[in-house]
Amino acid sequence: SVANSGPETSSGGAAANTVRIVLPEEPPTLEPCDASLTATGRVTRANITEALTERDPGTGRLQPALATEWKQDSPTEWTFTLRPGVKFHDGTAFDAKAAAFSIDRTVGSEIDCNVDGYVFGGIELTATAVDDTTLKVKTAKPDPILPLRLSFVEIVPATTSATGKVREPVGTGPYKIAKWDTGRSLRLERHAGYWGKAPEFAAAEYVWRAEGSIRAAMVKSDEADVAIGLAPEDGAGDSAVQYPNNETSYLRIDATKAPLNDIRVRQAINYAIDRDGLVASVFAGLGKPAGQLVPEGVTGHSSAVQAWPHDMAQAKKLVAEAKAAGVPTDTPIKIIGRNGIYPKAAEAMEVVQNSLIEAGLKVEIEMLDVNAWLEYLLRPFPKNLGPTLLQAQHGNQAGDAAFTMGQIYGSKGAQSSYGTSELDSMIAAAEQASGEERQTAFAKALEHQSKDVVRDAVLAHMTGILALSPRVTYKPNAATNDEMRLADMHPAG
């Protein structure tokens, strides 16, 4: 049809080996050290740039990437053996110097790398090239999951600017940037000298549309092959593919303020929320009622923690008890919501509000935009704030509970409004553990949280939808939201 004319949406015969992807937003930048930003990582990670290691989203196991093997020399010292013969897109060779430079650029530089804060969070480390293929990394404190952390450090050549961010990086990945027509489209082309197996599509063309229904429509009208970030209502129809997207929605309870400082009230909140109803109606049946922030497949998941049952009678009883004990249960509690955090965010909060009111609490809603909402999410919190429930969502991209617990449950965590010293010490211990021990330690901490601390009301593990045209086969997985590997996409038939 006419719709398919023009270079941007070029498809049909000539560009049969181009995969066309429509994203919800344009990556603000392709800076590799910001790859933990969803919009950036989705395009760069494993496509343009690669890290030393990579995590298999299915098994959670760490796989070799630019490093072929690694070992822990001492609690604070690691040695990585690098893959030989790898070349960057610009022809320079990949070696330990480049790797050390990249780690240093990400963690030690002044350029405010998102990965630095997100993954390393103050961890100090030094990387030194021993020879071309050997890299030594030293941490100030023992870090059992350093190789996992390093899976976020995208490797760039040493010629990359160390003082400023780059918009169009050079990497070792299977694709390189062909043309970024800012605002309109981004085209990647196969990198001929790729060290691994050549991907099947010769090129990838990204465009972005903020409106979900338009993204779905583009797949239907054959203007795009893959559309991600869809909501159930977007009408993707037959082309829709669902996948667990690694995110868990929850309400953070500010347990420092009355009446939320009473555990009975917090429990009542959990009992009052009809998670099945919520998932069935607001999330259109997608997603799974959840009881913990750490989903299955992530180190530290506890199968003992289940979603709270919907028990309004119990909720009412607990509120009544608390009230009888002098807890000011009629203090208005404010739900701080964030528009668009997931589809139908406001409706979800209305459901919660409705239930809590029924349980005997007073609840108001305030839906905010991201920046305003962040003021409430992050320390230091706004002053003179009453009791709040904060609508939030957490996704553990890295696959280790360490990326969840400290931040969210630690009493000093950046996103934490409340914690207990007992929980703090459990988390600290778990962070130092490794292997099976690590798993159980985190699981115990989680169980303790959900039984004795109850500082949040977890709602559901969320499900993502993407639309796929019949031209392409692709199996999305938990990591799809954050890294969409073009190599995993294949022409159909």
């Binding site: 006419v2 903020a210 338009i214 009208s221 009408g235 920046n371 003021e375 965590g413 996103q415």
Partner: protein, 308 residues
């Protein structure tokens, strides 16, 4: 005329500075961008350092002074979000918006003149009713309805038009139509009102007494007299399109200034916001100068007011 232009341009300088100052100060009242640009786990030191690097720790007037000094050197700062020069982002987005707004306004004005005059020709007649009713209904429709329905019908179901994007002439159809409905509806009403008055003026009779055809009467004689209110409103509608075509730009993936401005407000991308507002403000000022010049061209009485 030249003196008029010169006077208008110089008299626009102060308001322009006021706009920049206003945007500059107000933007800084909208919360700390550090939350958005630093990782969630950022420490207070990191925040302080971030603020220092971007000069946010200084008193507002110092910041503004420095900014002005930069602007004079045509340096508009760097985007916090994309790390590219703000001017680049704005100058890239602006033509897209201008094209869209221009095409829309041209069609809206031409359409409104035709339909509005037709309606005004016999006030309260069936033609008038139909024209007014359809145009106001269209104008009061939520624009995204129009947009999404248009996409579903013309792109998905019929396959005549692309769903979105900026490539090819056909890609213009839906965005322009969506943008068009409101200005069109408003203008039809305004043109109609002004034409009703103009058509009952005595000089219309004189024109008819010369044997002028009705088209000549309506478009040659009445229209110019009816133009001023329509022109003013059209100007304001254009302004609305220049910085407010957000819905359309968002839905159709049109990388325009409206979307850029919204993003930079929501993302506290001050440099881009300021540059964008500066550019739109200049456009708006220029537009108003053009409109005033049009008044003068249309009506010599105004022109004389200008020269005395």
């Amino acid at each position: 005329m030249l003196t008029f232009l010169r006077r208008r341009i110089t008299s626009s300088a102060i308001p322009l500075v006021v706009v920049i100052l206003g945007v500059f100060c107000l933007a800084r009242l909208t919360g700390d961008p550090a939350n958005l640009y630093l990782p969630l786990s950022a420490t207070p030191e990191m925040r302080a350092e971030f603020a220092a690097r971007h000069g946010f720790d200084q008193p507002l007037y110092v910041q503004f002074g420095e900014y002005l000094a930069q602007v004079v050197r045509l340096d508009f700062g760097e985007s916090l979000r994309t790390a590219e020069p703000a001017a680049e982002a704005v100058l890239r987005a602006f033509p897209a918006t201008l094209q869209l707004a221009g095409a829309t306004m041209i069609l809206a004005i031409l359409g409104a003149i035709a339909v509005g005059s037709w309606a005004a020709y016999r006030p309260n007649s069936a033609a008038d009713r139909i024209a007014s009713f359809t145009s106001t209904t269209a104008a009061s429709m939520p624009d995204f309805w129009f947009a999404i329905m248009g996409v579903l019908v013309f792109a998905v179901a019929l396959g005549w038009l692309p769903t979105s994007g900026t490539v090819g002439a056909l890609a213009w159809v839906l965005p322009v139509l969506t943008l068009l409905i409101r200005p069109f509806g408003v203008l039809v009403q305004v043109v109609r009102g002004a034409m009703v008055s103009a058509l009952s003026a005595p000089y219309i009779k004189v024109a008819r007494s010369k044997g002028a055809g009705e088209l000549r009467v309506v478009f040659g004689h009445a229209l110019r007299n009816a133009a001023p209110p329509a022109l003013t409103v059209a100007g304001d509608l254009t302004v609305g399109l220049v910085n407010g075509a957000v819905v359309v730009e968002t839905i159709f993936g049109w990388p325009g200034i409206g979307k850029l401005m919204i993003t930079s407000i929501l993302q506290r991308d001050f440099a881009v916001l300021q540059a964008a507002v500066l550019v739109t403000a200049i456009t708006i000022f220029a537009l108003n100068i053009v409109i005033d010049a049009c008044y003068a061209l249309l009506d010599s009485r105004v022109r004389q007011g200008v020269t005395t």
